[in-house]
Amino acid sequence: MPTLISIFASQLRTLLGMLIVCMHFAPNADAQVAAQPARVINYSAENFDRLCFRNMIATAARAKADRMLNAKAAMTESSVQLTHEQKAKLLLAGEVDIQRFFAAFEQLKSQWKFGSIPQHVFSAQFPKMRSAALPLMERYQKGLHGEGSLYHKAKLTMLTPTDFETTQAFNHKRKQKLYLNLIRATVASLDSRLPLTIEQREAVINTIMENTDPMEPLDYNEPMLFAVIPRLKEVESQLQPYFSEQEWLVVKKFMALAELQKR
Protein backbone atom coordinates (compact mmCIF):
# COMPACT_ATOMS: atom_id res chain seq x y z
CA MET A 1 0.00 0.00 0.00
CA PRO A 2 2.71 2.54 0.95
CA THR A 3 4.42 1.57 -2.29
CA LEU A 4 1.27 2.35 -4.23
CA ILE A 5 0.95 5.66 -2.45
CA SER A 6 4.56 6.52 -3.19
CA ILE A 7 4.07 5.57 -6.87
CA PHE A 8 0.92 7.65 -7.01
CA ALA A 9 2.70 10.54 -5.34
CA SER A 10 5.59 10.22 -7.79
CA GLN A 11 3.20 10.25 -10.75
CA LEU A 12 1.41 13.26 -9.32
CA ARG A 13 4.74 15.05 -8.88
CA THR A 14 5.62 14.18 -12.46
CA LEU A 15 2.32 15.54 -13.75
CA LEU A 16 2.72 18.68 -11.70
CA GLY A 17 6.24 19.04 -12.93
CA MET A 18 5.14 18.71 -16.53
CA LEU A 19 2.42 21.24 -15.95
CA ILE A 20 4.90 23.67 -14.49
CA VAL A 21 7.31 23.11 -17.33
CA CYS A 22 4.53 23.65 -19.89
CA MET A 23 3.43 26.78 -18.11
CA HIS A 24 7.02 27.89 -17.98
CA PHE A 25 7.61 27.26 -21.67
CA ALA A 26 4.33 28.59 -23.04
CA PRO A 27 4.86 32.25 -22.21
CA ASN A 28 8.49 31.88 -23.25
CA ALA A 29 7.43 30.67 -26.70
CA ASP A 30 5.13 33.67 -26.96
CA ALA A 31 7.87 35.90 -25.76
CA GLN A 32 10.18 34.43 -28.37
CA VAL A 33 7.64 35.17 -31.11
CA ALA A 34 7.08 38.62 -29.74
CA ALA A 35 10.78 39.20 -29.40
CA GLN A 36 11.41 38.34 -33.04
CA PRO A 37 11.89 41.62 -34.87
CA ALA A 38 9.38 42.37 -37.65
CA ARG A 39 10.86 41.77 -41.12
CA VAL A 40 12.37 44.89 -42.52
CA ILE A 41 12.91 45.87 -46.13
CA ASN A 42 15.82 48.07 -47.02
CA TYR A 43 14.54 50.26 -49.81
CA SER A 44 16.81 53.15 -50.57
CA ALA A 45 16.22 56.28 -52.62
CA GLU A 46 18.57 54.76 -55.17
CA ASN A 47 16.22 51.77 -55.52
CA PHE A 48 13.45 54.21 -56.31
CA ASP A 49 15.64 55.92 -58.95
CA ARG A 50 16.34 52.58 -60.56
CA LEU A 51 12.65 51.77 -60.61
CA CYS A 52 11.86 55.04 -62.38
CA PHE A 53 14.76 55.17 -64.81
CA ARG A 54 15.12 51.54 -65.77
CA ASN A 55 18.04 50.67 -63.61
CA MET A 56 19.74 54.06 -63.70
CA ILE A 57 20.27 56.34 -60.73
CA ALA A 58 18.79 59.84 -60.99
CA THR A 59 22.13 61.57 -61.66
CA ALA A 60 22.87 59.19 -64.55
CA ALA A 61 19.34 59.68 -65.89
CA ARG A 62 19.81 63.42 -65.79
CA ALA A 63 23.17 63.20 -67.55
CA LYS A 64 21.51 61.07 -70.22
CA ALA A 65 18.74 63.65 -70.63
CA ASP A 66 21.40 66.37 -71.11
CA ARG A 67 23.19 64.31 -73.73
CA MET A 68 19.94 63.59 -75.55
CA LEU A 69 19.12 67.31 -75.55
CA ASN A 70 22.42 68.08 -77.26
CA ALA A 71 21.85 65.29 -79.75
CA LYS A 72 18.33 66.57 -80.40
CA ALA A 73 19.58 70.10 -81.05
CA ALA A 74 22.20 68.68 -83.41
CA MET A 75 19.41 66.79 -85.18
CA THR A 76 17.38 69.99 -85.60
CA GLU A 77 20.50 71.74 -86.83
CA SER A 78 21.03 69.09 -89.47
CA SER A 79 17.57 69.62 -90.93
CA VAL A 80 17.48 73.47 -90.83
CA GLN A 81 20.04 76.24 -90.46
CA LEU A 82 20.12 77.63 -86.91
CA THR A 83 21.88 80.79 -85.79
CA HIS A 84 24.09 80.61 -82.72
CA GLU A 85 21.46 82.51 -80.75
CA GLN A 86 18.64 80.23 -81.88
CA LYS A 87 20.59 77.14 -80.88
CA ALA A 88 21.38 78.64 -77.47
CA LYS A 89 17.68 79.43 -76.94
CA LEU A 90 16.68 75.90 -77.93
CA LEU A 91 19.20 74.40 -75.54
CA LEU A 92 18.01 76.68 -72.77
CA ALA A 93 14.39 75.68 -73.36
CA GLY A 94 15.45 72.03 -73.34
CA GLU A 95 17.37 72.54 -70.11
CA VAL A 96 14.23 74.02 -68.52
CA ASP A 97 12.29 70.91 -69.59
CA ILE A 98 14.89 68.72 -67.91
CA GLN A 99 14.85 70.83 -64.75
CA ARG A 100 11.06 70.78 -64.58
CA PHE A 101 11.00 67.04 -65.00
CA PHE A 102 13.58 66.39 -62.31
CA ALA A 103 11.90 68.86 -59.94
CA ALA A 104 8.67 66.88 -60.35
CA PHE A 105 10.61 63.68 -59.82
CA GLU A 106 12.28 64.95 -56.64
CA GLN A 107 8.94 66.13 -55.32
CA LEU A 108 7.43 62.71 -55.90
CA LYS A 109 10.43 61.06 -54.31
CA SER A 110 10.13 63.21 -51.19
CA GLN A 111 6.66 61.80 -50.51
CA TRP A 112 8.01 58.35 -49.69
CA LYS A 113 9.92 56.92 -46.82
CA PHE A 114 13.21 55.22 -47.65
CA GLY A 115 15.62 53.17 -45.61
CA SER A 116 14.63 50.30 -43.32
CA ILE A 117 10.89 49.93 -43.65
CA PRO A 118 8.80 47.23 -41.94
CA GLN A 119 7.68 44.74 -44.54
CA HIS A 120 3.96 45.39 -44.09
CA VAL A 121 4.51 49.14 -44.52
CA PHE A 122 6.60 48.53 -47.62
CA SER A 123 4.05 46.11 -49.10
CA ALA A 124 1.39 48.79 -48.74
CA GLN A 125 3.66 51.58 -49.97
CA PHE A 126 5.28 49.98 -53.01
CA PRO A 127 2.25 49.64 -55.35
CA LYS A 128 1.24 53.25 -54.60
CA MET A 129 4.80 54.39 -55.18
CA ARG A 130 4.98 52.54 -58.48
CA SER A 131 1.66 53.79 -59.82
CA ALA A 132 2.52 57.37 -58.80
CA ALA A 133 5.88 57.07 -60.57
CA LEU A 134 4.48 55.49 -63.73
CA PRO A 135 3.52 58.73 -65.55
CA LEU A 136 6.99 60.15 -64.90
CA MET A 137 8.65 56.91 -65.99
CA GLU A 138 6.73 56.98 -69.24
CA ARG A 139 7.47 60.66 -69.79
CA TYR A 140 11.16 60.07 -69.37
CA GLN A 141 11.20 57.02 -71.66
CA LYS A 142 9.30 58.97 -74.32
CA GLY A 143 11.83 61.80 -74.22
CA LEU A 144 11.60 65.14 -72.47
CA HIS A 145 11.66 67.30 -75.58
CA GLY A 146 8.75 66.08 -77.61
CA GLU A 147 5.41 67.72 -78.27
CA GLY A 148 4.19 69.79 -75.31
CA SER A 149 7.73 70.53 -74.12
CA LEU A 150 9.20 74.00 -73.88
CA TYR A 151 11.82 72.89 -76.37
CA HIS A 152 9.09 72.11 -78.89
CA LYS A 153 7.32 75.42 -78.20
CA ALA A 154 10.58 77.35 -78.55
CA LYS A 155 11.20 75.65 -81.87
CA LEU A 156 7.68 76.50 -82.96
CA THR A 157 8.00 80.21 -82.11
CA MET A 158 11.58 80.64 -83.19
CA LEU A 159 11.57 78.96 -86.60
CA THR A 160 9.74 80.13 -89.69
CA PRO A 161 6.68 77.98 -90.52
CA THR A 162 8.57 76.45 -93.44
CA ASP A 163 11.60 75.61 -91.30
CA PHE A 164 9.35 74.20 -88.61
CA GLU A 165 7.59 72.01 -91.18
CA THR A 166 10.98 70.86 -92.42
CA THR A 167 12.04 69.76 -88.95
CA GLN A 168 8.69 68.01 -88.43
CA ALA A 169 9.02 66.18 -91.75
CA PHE A 170 12.56 65.24 -90.79
CA ASN A 171 11.39 63.81 -87.47
CA HIS A 172 8.57 61.94 -89.16
CA LYS A 173 11.00 60.39 -91.62
CA ARG A 174 13.21 59.32 -88.75
CA LYS A 175 10.28 57.78 -86.95
CA GLN A 176 9.18 55.94 -90.11
CA LYS A 177 12.67 54.52 -90.64
CA LEU A 178 12.94 53.32 -87.06
CA TYR A 179 9.51 51.76 -87.35
CA LEU A 180 10.39 50.02 -90.61
CA ASN A 181 13.46 48.58 -88.89
CA LEU A 182 11.34 47.22 -86.08
CA ILE A 183 8.83 45.72 -88.48
CA ARG A 184 11.60 44.09 -90.53
CA ALA A 185 13.02 42.53 -87.40
CA THR A 186 9.63 41.31 -86.23
CA VAL A 187 8.81 39.78 -89.60
CA ALA A 188 12.24 38.13 -89.61
CA SER A 189 11.35 36.59 -86.25
CA LEU A 190 8.21 35.14 -87.72
CA ASP A 191 10.26 34.04 -90.72
CA SER A 192 12.53 32.05 -88.43
CA ARG A 193 9.61 29.85 -87.38
CA LEU A 194 7.42 30.01 -90.46
CA PRO A 195 9.62 30.47 -93.53
CA LEU A 196 8.10 33.15 -95.77
CA THR A 197 8.44 33.62 -99.50
CA ILE A 198 9.79 36.91 -100.88
CA GLU A 199 6.25 37.88 -101.83
CA GLN A 200 4.82 37.12 -98.39
CA ARG A 201 7.63 38.94 -96.62
CA GLU A 202 7.26 42.10 -98.69
CA ALA A 203 3.46 42.02 -98.47
CA VAL A 204 3.50 41.69 -94.67
CA ILE A 205 6.04 44.51 -94.22
CA ASN A 206 4.22 46.84 -96.62
CA THR A 207 0.78 46.10 -95.18
CA ILE A 208 1.94 46.96 -91.67
CA MET A 209 3.85 50.06 -92.79
CA GLU A 210 1.00 51.43 -94.87
CA ASN A 211 -1.81 50.75 -92.43
CA THR A 212 -0.42 51.49 -88.99
CA ASP A 213 1.03 54.57 -87.33
CA PRO A 214 4.74 54.52 -86.59
CA MET A 215 5.59 53.92 -82.97
CA GLU A 216 7.56 56.16 -80.69
CA PRO A 217 11.21 55.06 -80.60
CA LEU A 218 11.90 52.35 -78.04
CA ASP A 219 14.69 52.17 -75.52
CA TYR A 220 15.14 48.42 -76.15
CA ASN A 221 15.10 47.49 -72.52
CA GLU A 222 12.16 45.22 -73.12
CA PRO A 223 11.84 42.57 -75.79
CA MET A 224 10.75 44.61 -78.79
CA LEU A 225 8.45 41.95 -80.16
CA PHE A 226 5.97 42.84 -77.48
CA ALA A 227 5.82 46.38 -78.75
CA VAL A 228 5.41 45.48 -82.40
CA ILE A 229 3.13 42.45 -82.35
CA PRO A 230 0.03 44.50 -81.39
CA ARG A 231 0.56 46.41 -84.66
CA LEU A 232 0.30 43.15 -86.56
CA LYS A 233 -3.00 42.52 -84.82
CA GLU A 234 -4.29 45.89 -86.02
CA VAL A 235 -4.01 44.72 -89.64
CA GLU A 236 -4.89 41.07 -89.03
CA SER A 237 -7.65 40.95 -91.63
CA GLN A 238 -5.40 42.52 -94.28
CA LEU A 239 -2.58 40.07 -93.57
CA GLN A 240 -4.66 36.88 -93.65
CA PRO A 241 -5.01 36.67 -97.47
CA TYR A 242 -1.22 36.33 -97.82
CA PHE A 243 -1.17 33.04 -95.91
CA SER A 244 -2.62 29.59 -96.40
CA GLU A 245 -5.11 28.34 -93.84
CA GLN A 246 -2.42 26.21 -92.19
CA GLU A 247 0.07 29.05 -92.12
CA TRP A 248 -2.44 31.50 -90.72
CA LEU A 249 -2.79 29.35 -87.60
CA VAL A 250 0.95 29.77 -87.04
CA VAL A 251 0.76 33.53 -87.61
CA LYS A 252 -2.08 33.73 -85.08
CA LYS A 253 0.05 31.85 -82.55
CA PHE A 254 2.88 34.29 -83.20
CA MET A 255 0.56 37.23 -82.62
CA ALA A 256 -0.66 35.64 -79.40
CA LEU A 257 2.88 36.02 -78.01
CA ALA A 258 1.94 39.62 -77.20
CA GLU A 259 -0.08 38.23 -74.29
CA LEU A 260 3.12 37.06 -72.63
CA GLN A 261 4.19 40.62 -72.02
CA LYS A 262 4.86 41.38 -68.37
CA ARG A 263 3.86 44.76 -67.00
Binding site: A71, R174, N181, P195, L196, I198, L257
Partner: protein, 262 residues
Protein backbone atom coordinates in the same frame (compact mmCIF):
# COMPACT_ATOMS: atom_id res chain seq x y z
CA UNK B 1 10.71 11.65 -12.27
CA UNK B 2 11.54 15.07 -10.90
CA UNK B 3 11.09 18.48 -12.43
CA UNK B 4 14.79 18.71 -13.10
CA UNK B 5 14.86 15.31 -14.74
CA UNK B 6 11.96 16.44 -16.91
CA UNK B 7 13.76 19.57 -17.86
CA UNK B 8 16.80 17.45 -18.63
CA UNK B 9 14.74 15.11 -20.81
CA UNK B 10 13.22 18.09 -22.59
CA UNK B 11 16.67 19.53 -23.08
CA UNK B 12 17.86 16.17 -24.37
CA UNK B 13 14.86 16.06 -26.68
CA UNK B 14 15.48 19.55 -27.97
CA UNK B 15 19.17 18.74 -28.37
CA UNK B 16 18.21 15.68 -30.39
CA UNK B 17 15.93 17.83 -32.53
CA UNK B 18 18.71 20.34 -32.89
CA UNK B 19 21.11 17.59 -33.97
CA UNK B 20 18.59 16.35 -36.56
CA UNK B 21 18.02 19.90 -37.85
CA UNK B 22 21.77 20.51 -38.03
CA UNK B 23 22.30 17.23 -39.85
CA UNK B 24 19.53 18.10 -42.34
CA UNK B 25 20.97 21.56 -42.84
CA UNK B 26 24.44 20.19 -43.40
CA UNK B 27 23.06 17.64 -45.85
CA UNK B 28 21.20 20.39 -47.67
CA UNK B 29 24.32 22.51 -47.70
CA UNK B 30 26.23 19.67 -49.29
CA UNK B 31 23.46 18.53 -51.62
CA UNK B 32 22.24 21.83 -53.06
CA UNK B 33 25.58 23.14 -54.28
CA UNK B 34 25.98 19.77 -56.01
CA UNK B 35 22.62 20.16 -57.72
CA UNK B 36 23.55 23.73 -58.57
CA UNK B 37 26.93 22.66 -59.97
CA UNK B 38 25.27 19.98 -62.03
CA UNK B 39 22.85 22.54 -63.41
CA UNK B 40 25.77 24.82 -64.23
CA UNK B 41 27.66 22.03 -65.93
CA UNK B 42 24.58 21.18 -67.94
CA UNK B 43 24.12 24.83 -68.85
CA UNK B 44 27.75 25.18 -69.92
CA UNK B 45 27.56 21.97 -71.87
CA UNK B 46 24.28 23.15 -73.37
CA UNK B 47 25.97 26.14 -74.91
CA UNK B 48 28.35 24.02 -76.90
CA UNK B 49 26.34 20.83 -77.07
CA UNK B 50 25.78 18.86 -80.19
CA UNK B 51 22.40 20.03 -81.52
CA UNK B 52 19.63 17.77 -80.32
CA UNK B 53 18.09 15.40 -82.82
CA UNK B 54 14.63 16.76 -82.01
CA UNK B 55 15.73 20.30 -82.79
CA UNK B 56 17.47 19.20 -85.97
CA UNK B 57 14.33 17.31 -86.92
CA UNK B 58 12.23 20.42 -86.34
CA UNK B 59 14.57 22.53 -88.41
CA UNK B 60 14.62 20.00 -91.25
CA UNK B 61 10.84 19.68 -91.22
CA UNK B 62 10.46 23.45 -91.37
CA UNK B 63 12.77 23.65 -94.35
CA UNK B 64 10.98 20.75 -96.03
CA UNK B 65 7.73 22.62 -95.57
CA UNK B 66 9.28 25.63 -97.26
CA UNK B 67 10.66 23.56 -100.13
CA UNK B 68 7.19 22.08 -100.62
CA UNK B 69 5.70 25.56 -100.65
CA UNK B 70 8.16 26.93 -103.21
CA UNK B 71 8.82 23.92 -105.46
CA UNK B 72 5.48 22.14 -105.23
CA UNK B 73 6.94 18.61 -105.62
CA UNK B 74 4.94 15.51 -106.57
CA UNK B 75 4.23 12.99 -103.82
CA UNK B 76 7.05 10.65 -104.89
CA UNK B 77 9.53 13.54 -105.32
CA UNK B 78 8.68 14.79 -101.84
CA UNK B 79 9.07 11.33 -100.33
CA UNK B 80 12.50 10.91 -101.91
CA UNK B 81 13.61 14.32 -100.67
CA UNK B 82 12.25 13.62 -97.17
CA UNK B 83 14.07 10.28 -97.00
CA UNK B 84 17.34 11.82 -98.16
CA UNK B 85 16.93 14.63 -95.63
CA UNK B 86 16.28 12.15 -92.85
CA UNK B 87 19.61 10.49 -93.68
CA UNK B 88 21.32 13.86 -93.91
CA UNK B 89 20.11 14.86 -90.46
CA UNK B 90 21.69 11.69 -89.05
CA UNK B 91 24.92 12.51 -90.85
CA UNK B 92 24.79 16.02 -89.43
CA UNK B 93 24.42 14.59 -85.93
CA UNK B 94 27.56 12.51 -86.46
CA UNK B 95 29.33 15.51 -87.93
CA UNK B 96 28.57 17.68 -84.92
CA UNK B 97 29.59 14.86 -82.62
CA UNK B 98 32.93 14.75 -84.40
CA UNK B 99 33.24 18.55 -84.31
CA UNK B 100 32.55 18.54 -80.59
CA UNK B 101 35.78 16.58 -80.16
CA UNK B 102 37.92 18.34 -82.71
CA UNK B 103 36.71 21.88 -83.38
CA UNK B 104 35.84 25.05 -81.52
CA UNK B 105 32.04 25.52 -81.44
CA UNK B 106 32.25 28.94 -83.04
CA UNK B 107 33.80 27.37 -86.14
CA UNK B 108 31.01 24.81 -86.58
CA UNK B 109 28.80 25.37 -89.61
CA UNK B 110 25.26 26.54 -88.86
CA UNK B 111 22.77 23.65 -89.04
CA UNK B 112 20.30 25.81 -90.95
CA UNK B 113 22.97 26.44 -93.58
CA UNK B 114 23.79 22.72 -93.83
CA UNK B 115 20.15 21.78 -94.30
CA UNK B 116 19.33 24.45 -96.87
CA UNK B 117 22.51 23.61 -98.81
CA UNK B 118 21.49 19.96 -98.79
CA UNK B 119 17.94 20.78 -99.91
CA UNK B 120 19.29 23.05 -102.62
CA UNK B 121 21.38 20.16 -104.00
CA UNK B 122 18.31 17.92 -103.94
CA UNK B 123 16.21 20.63 -105.61
CA UNK B 124 18.83 20.95 -108.36
CA UNK B 125 18.74 17.19 -108.90
CA UNK B 126 14.97 16.79 -108.70
CA UNK B 127 13.33 19.84 -110.27
CA UNK B 128 13.55 21.80 -113.49
CA UNK B 129 16.25 24.53 -113.37
CA UNK B 130 13.60 27.24 -113.19
CA UNK B 131 12.09 25.76 -110.01
CA UNK B 132 15.47 25.00 -108.45
CA UNK B 133 16.55 28.58 -109.12
CA UNK B 134 13.36 29.95 -107.60
CA UNK B 135 14.19 27.96 -104.44
CA UNK B 136 17.77 29.31 -104.49
CA UNK B 137 16.44 32.86 -104.84
CA UNK B 138 14.07 32.40 -101.91
CA UNK B 139 16.79 31.07 -99.62
CA UNK B 140 19.15 33.91 -100.56
CA UNK B 141 16.39 36.47 -99.99
CA UNK B 142 15.63 35.02 -96.58
CA UNK B 143 19.30 35.17 -95.57
CA UNK B 144 19.51 38.76 -96.76
CA UNK B 145 16.30 39.65 -94.92
CA UNK B 146 17.82 38.19 -91.75
CA UNK B 147 20.97 40.26 -92.09
CA UNK B 148 18.88 43.36 -92.88
CA UNK B 149 16.73 42.71 -89.83
CA UNK B 150 19.73 42.34 -87.52
CA UNK B 151 21.43 45.46 -88.88
CA UNK B 152 18.10 47.32 -88.58
CA UNK B 153 17.81 46.49 -84.93
CA UNK B 154 21.44 47.38 -84.26
CA UNK B 155 20.84 50.70 -86.03
CA UNK B 156 17.78 51.37 -83.89
CA UNK B 157 19.72 50.62 -80.74
CA UNK B 158 22.52 52.96 -81.79
CA UNK B 159 19.95 55.63 -82.63
CA UNK B 160 18.36 55.31 -79.20
CA UNK B 161 21.67 56.44 -77.72
CA UNK B 162 23.07 58.95 -80.20
CA UNK B 163 20.15 60.00 -82.47
CA UNK B 164 20.76 59.50 -86.19
CA UNK B 165 19.36 61.38 -89.15
CA UNK B 166 17.51 59.24 -91.76
CA UNK B 167 20.53 59.37 -94.08
CA UNK B 168 22.87 58.42 -91.24
CA UNK B 169 20.56 55.53 -90.39
CA UNK B 170 20.96 54.12 -93.90
CA UNK B 171 24.70 54.51 -93.79
CA UNK B 172 24.97 52.94 -90.32
CA UNK B 173 22.69 50.06 -91.35
CA UNK B 174 24.76 49.22 -94.42
CA UNK B 175 28.05 49.38 -92.48
CA UNK B 176 26.61 47.25 -89.69
CA UNK B 177 25.26 44.72 -92.20
CA UNK B 178 28.80 44.06 -93.40
CA UNK B 179 30.11 43.23 -89.92
CA UNK B 180 30.76 39.69 -88.82
CA UNK B 181 28.82 40.19 -85.57
CA UNK B 182 25.74 40.99 -87.64
CA UNK B 183 26.14 38.24 -90.21
CA UNK B 184 26.66 35.62 -87.55
CA UNK B 185 23.89 36.77 -85.24
CA UNK B 186 21.23 34.28 -84.34
CA UNK B 187 18.30 36.39 -85.24
CA UNK B 188 15.33 35.18 -83.23
CA UNK B 189 17.37 35.24 -80.06
CA UNK B 190 19.04 38.52 -80.93
CA UNK B 191 15.69 40.19 -81.11
CA UNK B 192 14.54 39.46 -77.66
CA UNK B 193 16.74 41.16 -75.13
CA UNK B 194 18.99 44.17 -75.28
CA UNK B 195 22.13 42.26 -74.34
CA UNK B 196 21.52 39.86 -77.19
CA UNK B 197 21.56 42.56 -79.85
CA UNK B 198 24.90 42.13 -81.65
CA UNK B 199 26.39 45.56 -81.03
CA UNK B 200 29.55 46.14 -83.08
CA UNK B 201 32.87 46.15 -81.26
CA UNK B 202 34.18 49.55 -80.02
CA UNK B 203 36.79 49.50 -82.81
CA UNK B 204 34.10 49.14 -85.47
CA UNK B 205 32.03 51.92 -83.92
CA UNK B 206 34.63 54.54 -84.80
CA UNK B 207 34.10 53.69 -88.49
CA UNK B 208 30.33 53.82 -88.15
CA UNK B 209 29.63 56.99 -86.18
CA UNK B 210 30.62 60.64 -86.51
CA UNK B 211 32.91 62.16 -83.91
CA UNK B 212 30.02 63.79 -82.03
CA UNK B 213 28.03 60.56 -82.03
CA UNK B 214 31.02 58.52 -81.00
CA UNK B 215 31.59 60.73 -77.94
CA UNK B 216 27.94 60.33 -77.03
CA UNK B 217 28.11 56.56 -77.61
CA UNK B 218 31.19 56.18 -75.42
CA UNK B 219 29.61 58.00 -72.50
CA UNK B 220 26.71 55.56 -72.29
CA UNK B 221 26.39 52.07 -70.92
CA UNK B 222 26.11 49.25 -73.44
CA UNK B 223 25.26 45.66 -72.93
CA UNK B 224 28.06 43.26 -73.71
CA UNK B 225 27.24 41.11 -76.67
CA UNK B 226 28.73 37.67 -76.48
CA UNK B 227 26.35 35.19 -78.00
CA UNK B 228 27.84 32.31 -79.90
CA UNK B 229 25.67 30.82 -82.63
CA UNK B 230 25.12 27.65 -80.65
CA UNK B 231 22.37 29.58 -78.92
CA UNK B 232 20.41 28.77 -82.03
CA UNK B 233 19.43 25.60 -80.24
CA UNK B 234 18.58 27.28 -77.02
CA UNK B 235 14.88 26.64 -76.75
CA UNK B 236 14.52 29.07 -73.90
CA UNK B 237 12.88 31.70 -76.05
CA UNK B 238 9.35 32.79 -76.74
CA UNK B 239 9.37 31.47 -80.28
CA UNK B 240 10.16 27.91 -79.27
CA UNK B 241 6.45 27.12 -79.00
CA UNK B 242 5.77 28.11 -82.61
CA UNK B 243 6.12 25.54 -85.35
CA UNK B 244 5.64 25.61 -89.08
CA UNK B 245 2.59 23.64 -90.27
CA UNK B 246 3.09 19.90 -89.93
CA UNK B 247 6.28 20.14 -87.92
CA UNK B 248 4.68 19.03 -84.67
CA UNK B 249 1.72 17.08 -85.96
CA UNK B 250 3.42 14.92 -88.57
CA UNK B 251 7.09 14.75 -87.76
CA UNK B 252 8.80 13.96 -91.03
CA UNK B 253 12.15 13.96 -89.28
CA UNK B 254 13.63 12.00 -87.44
CA UNK B 255 11.85 9.78 -85.23
CA UNK B 256 13.66 11.87 -82.56
CA UNK B 257 13.91 9.20 -79.82
CA UNK B 258 15.78 6.79 -82.07
CA UNK B 259 18.13 9.47 -83.27
CA UNK B 260 18.83 10.66 -79.72
CA UNK B 261 19.46 7.16 -78.43
CA UNK B 262 21.90 6.56 -81.21
Amino acid sequence: MTLSSHTRSLQAHSQKALRITTAINLWLLVFFPCVHCNAQVRAVRGRVAVPLATKMGELASRELFFLKKVCNPSKSEYETITEATRKHVKEMQDLYLEYSKTKEPKTWPRPEQLITDHLQTLADQTFAPQIANAYRKEITARNEANVAAVSSIVTNLIDSQVLLSPTEMDSVASKVAALETTREATLPVALFYRHMIPIPSPDSMSDILTERQLILWKTQKHPNYNQPWVNYFNSNDFLSSIFAPGVKEEPNIPPPEKAERK
